[in-house]
């Protein structure tokens, strides 16, 4: 049984790992192949700071909140394992800041120690009158993706460096299931007008005295269009750009200035921070994550495709819940193909 995974970002690699872990002993012939035009450190996931934090509102999308929780709990369980450092996984606390009171987020009981900010804490952030403090997790793509890749390689998963132009290209020739984890480029494989780039730009600085994440919110401008500071294990990420529909991956001088000025206003000590890099990336934004099966007619046959894309700016936050859901869809495909023993009971 051959499975082709398109995409080697956090979604593709974690989906592959989840499927392998759950099914390799049940399906001895299981062969996984990852196809991607970009591998770590050149994927969108590599550019993300790696902070686990969903958007402020799940817009009633309870399923996504559950996947977020599943991811958080899974990562928390790995925190004390010897692999944590290699995975790029560690605890981090910090601040979410607002200019007016807001309802508590869907994830308040998922993170640790969620509470409102005290008046004295708010003194640190002139201009903001309300906020939250909580402890969450960092999962740095630069470490996590290589860790996933190593695990997959050890398990015999093959990697192919190529830009896949169509499902047909990978599904012919004996591939039974295709996992579409192609992020923003999924539109090239199958048109999806709901999938749009949410362009972001970040400045990487050396500011090792910053130990907290600080995310400001401007409810009028929308998510991530207000300055944020996220300290990683090797550098600190300054950001605050979200441009819907902008496909440019070039760093913009105007955005640089906007990020720099607003972050330095937020944290005056940043003025002394040394800039060590800059990056632009395109969040694969969609009103909701597309995680579903599709049977696609191809030539003289049919391929089962599992779509798992459209995770916007919360891919790392939601990845494991989605990988597990994709694995469940894979399991149902196996049952249909009678690759798995059917449960006892009358056959229809």
């Amino acid at each position: 049984m051959r499975v082709a995974i398109i995409g080697a970002g956090v979604i593709g690699l974690s989906s592959a790992l989840c499927i392998h872990e759950q099914f390799h002993s049940l399906v001895p012939s299981l062969e996984l192949e990852v196809y991607a035009d970009h591998f770590t450190p050149h994927t969108t996931s590599d550019g993300a700071a790696g902070l686990w934090q969903p958007y402020l509102s799940d817009h009633g999308n309870l399923q996504e909140t559950l996947w977020n929780k599943e991811t958080f709990d899974y990562l928390l369980g790995h925190l004390h394992s010897p692999a944590a450092k290699e995975m790029g996984l560690f605890l981090i606390s910090g601040y979410n800041l607002f200019t007016e009171p807001v309802p508590d987020p869907s994830w308040k009981n998922i993170v640790l120690g969620f509470r409102n900010l005290t008046p004295k804490e708010l003194e640190l952030f002139p201009g903001y009158s309300y906020g939250w403090f909580n402890t969450a997790l960092m999962l740095e793509g630069r470490s996590y993706l290589p860790w996933l890749t190593n695990r997959l390689t050890q398990k015999g998963v093959k990697f192919f460096h190529k830009k896949v132009e169509s499902f047909q290209e990978v599904s012919g020739d004996g591939v039974d299931v295709v996992l579409n984890c192609s992020g923003l480029r999924s539109g090239d494989l199958q048109p999806d007008p709901e999938l749009q780039p949410g362009r972001g730009q970040i400045i990487k600085v050396l500011a090792p005295w910053v130990k907290h994440f600080i995310i400001t919110h401007d409810l009028k401008s929308g998510i991530y269009n207000s300055p944020y500071v996220i300290p990683g294990s090797q550098f600190t990420v300054l950001g605050g750009i979200y441009q819907h529909g902008n496909w440019s991956e070039e760093n913009s001088a105007k955005d640089h200035k906007s990020i720099w000025d607003s972050c330095c206003r937020l944290l005056p000590a940043l003025q002394k921070a040394k800039i060590v890099g800059e990056w632009s990336g395109l969040r694969p934004a969609r009103p909701s994550v597309r995680l579903e099966r599709e049977s696609i007619r191809l030539g003289n046959g049919q391929a089962e495709v599992i779509h798992n894309y459209g995770h916007g700016g919360f891919g790392i936050t939601i990845h494991w819940g989605c990988a597990a859901a994709a694995a469940r869809l894979f399991g149902s495909i196996l049952q249909e193909k009678k690759q798995l023993a059917t449960p006892p009971g009358p056959r229809l």
Partner: protein, 341 residues
């Protein structure tokens, strides 16, 4: 007395901050810092510099609270300014955990640090051997950066600093009008204070940049304090030990204790071992004294004996000592007026 000449003996956090306070409260004073050691070779350089107060049994609590509050307020303002990174001051959040619930669940400083609250059940799961904990955000003063920043501020006021071992305060009486004794453990030989005793502390400074929280066992013996570049792992409290040599068995023990609080420390690199002698006393000595010898008087202000809590109360005691220096100056001016009459 146009320009009182003040000698501050000692260049750890207490000496430097006291000297700075004196230049602020008495701009006409000429201040000189004398010390046999300067950063990075002072006891302060070994300390992590965490603002978590140590309790002095014989100092009234309200005074300790006042010292801590003044220190916290002073550093809070710097941490929020463009100078924060140069001064080595940063906010850090974390947990103080207890194997059994302490008698006093609310320490006197709980309303001075930020966001103090008991830990939730899910937070405590990270510490399976501990039953109770407190979460809060406080400040850390990294040394050498903080001491070097104090030295820079002092130089800007015209304060001079000299490496000099002062064996006897009387050495200074002809050159200086007032002597401020911030010699820490050095006060024992210098002024013969037998109430002052060393509490030896060994620490490890490691590279573990993914650690963003402090963790402290409520017993005060095991702690993990992330600084700007290094994480301080501690520690020991060996009362009466004068040894400044690192002990290999102790290093292993500290590392093991810290790894059991924070398993990811197994991956820590570049372990550096340091030892300091906490200048301990039942109460901090912030006090005026007039030494007298052969008809000559020497006003002295003492500011030493901060033990494990030097950083936590340094600015508060420096303010008090500077105030006492002001009193010495008034007394000198009064007596010189009387001498003229």
């Amino acid at each position: 007395m146009a320009s009182p000449k003040v000698a501050v003996v000692g260049a750890g956090v207490i000496g430097l901050s006291t000297a700075l306070c004196i230049t602020e409260t008495c701009p006409s004073c000429s201040v000189t810092v004398l010390s046999d050691q300067f950063s990075p070779n002072t006891t302060s350089d070994v300390a992590a510099g965490m603002l978590i107060p140590h309790i002095y049994p014989d100092t009234p609590i309200h005074r300790q609270k006042q010292w801590f509050k003044e220190t916290f307020t002073y550093l809070f303002a710097i941490s929020n300014s463009a100078e924060a990174s140069e001064a080595g001051i940063h906010l850090v959040s974390g947990w103080q955990v207890f194997k059994s619930t302490p008698k006093e669940e609310l320490p006197f400083w709980s309303d001075i640090v930020l966001g103090f609250r008991p830990m939730t059940e899910s937070e405590l799961q990270k510490f399976p051997q501990h039953q109770f904990g407190q979460a809060f955000t406080t400040l850390k003063c990294d040394s050498p950066p903080y001491l070097l920043w104090l030295e820079k501020r002092l130089k800007a006021t015209g304060t001079e600093m000299y490496t000099r071992k002062v064996a006897d305060l009387w050495e200074l009486h002809s050159e200086y009008d007032i002597v401020v004794n911030c010699t820490g453990m050095g006060a024992r030989p210098l002024v013969g204070d037998k109430q002052l005793f060393p509490v030896r502390g060994q620490v490890l400074k490691v590279h573990a940049p993914w650690l963003k929280h402090f963790i402290r066992d409520g017993d005060g013996l095991t702690y993990i304090y992330p600084g700007i570049h290094r994480v301080t792992l501690g520690g020991t409290r060996e009362k009466g030990s004068w040894s400044l040599s690192p002990d290999a068995g102790t290093t292993r023990d500290i590392f093991d204790r810290c790894c059991s609080l924070e398993p990811s420390l197994q991956g820590a690199q570049d372990i550096e071992v340091k030892v300091g002698l906490r200048p301990s006393r039942q109460c901090v000595r912030v006090q005026r004294e007039v030494l007298s010898q052969g008809g000559v008087k020497l006003p002295v202000v003492h500011n030493y004996g901060h033990g494990a809590g030097g950083f936590s109360v340094h600015r508060g005691t420096a303010n008090e000592a500077a105030h006492l220096v002001g009193e010495c100056i008034s007394a000198l001016q009064g007596s010189s007026l009387r001498a003229k009459l």
